[in-house]
Symmetry: C2
Subunit: 166 residues, 2 copies
């Protein structure tokens, strides 16, 4: 039972529904913290990727988030005004606004990441060794094949050095 031939047989109900419920709870911990700061998920995403990719360009952030600059503009402005993020001129191209977290921004980003890490850690602790790698591979394989390599590169790059492309 449980064949995986594409477009045949029964839908993969368990994974479809587990993805829904797991993702909902996964984002709920940060949501609660953000609520007290009058921020939303959109702020979290921006803060997260700026924290992970210091010096990221606005255009690259838009690519990652796949939202419009108007949508980004709103939340980014609030994060700048409230000193969670700063921007500096691009050294080679002075039109660019390179984004960095402030100490305050880093503290929040790390606090939120810690919550999600704790949840993931508890989940992995319940499972055997190799569960981390299995989860990694499953999730990576779910990503659009055209985008997958870029995503993996982004993750690896941010891990290596806190410095973005260009």
């Amino acid at each position: 039972m449980a064949k995986t031939a594409p477009s045949e047989a029964e839908p993969t109900w368990d994974l479809i529904e587990l993805l829904f419920f797991a993702y909902r709870d996964f984002v709920s911990d940060p949501d609660h913290v953000l609520e007290a700061l009058e921020f939303g998920r959109a702020h979290h995403r921006v803060l997260h990727f700026v924290n992970r990719n210091p010096g990221i360009k606005v255009a690259d952030l838009l690519d990652i988030l796949r939202i419009t600059k108007q949508s980004l503009g709103r939340v980014l402005k609030q994060l700048l005004d409230q000193d969670y993020i700063t921007q500096r001129e691009g050294p080679r191209d002075r039109r660019q606004r390179l984004l960095y977290v402030t100490p305050k921004g880093q503290a929040l980003a790390m606090r939120l990441a810690r919550l999600q890490t704790d949840r993931i850690g508890r989940a992995l602790a319940d499972l055997g060794p190799g569960a981390h790698e299995a989860a990694h591979r499953f999730l990576a394989a779910l990503i659009d094949s055209e985008a997958r390599q870029n995503v993996l590169k982004l993750i690896a790059q941010a891990d290596r050095a806190p410095r973005v492309n260009d």
Copy 2:
């Protein structure tokens, strides 16, 4: 490397980010289909859970989706008006409106589930055997521990018989 002790060491950046990217692509296939029908993700969720749990009560649906009845009301009304869902009086309690998909609703629900199943199937095909179970266990473990048993029960129950509680 890669310890999982809660609240120590480095955040689990890879899984945090992969969950973001994987979930985004996972919902994107249905999104495209829904767009043509002038429906959104909210409609998808309602249709999905009604399809999976024929005869579900409005109150139970609200519990699953964790939204207000006003939010549900809007999308449910559209699905009823456009004949994707029907409602019948509860046999024992005539205040209840038990929800069912119509053939048209079932066709759409299955079409959307097929898209997500195909994506999952492609992902699992790239991995070894046991990947399905590993993914299942990881995702289930991510769910709030208080809610986990109920979720697993819901999934198993819907698999067994297309008939909801009560």
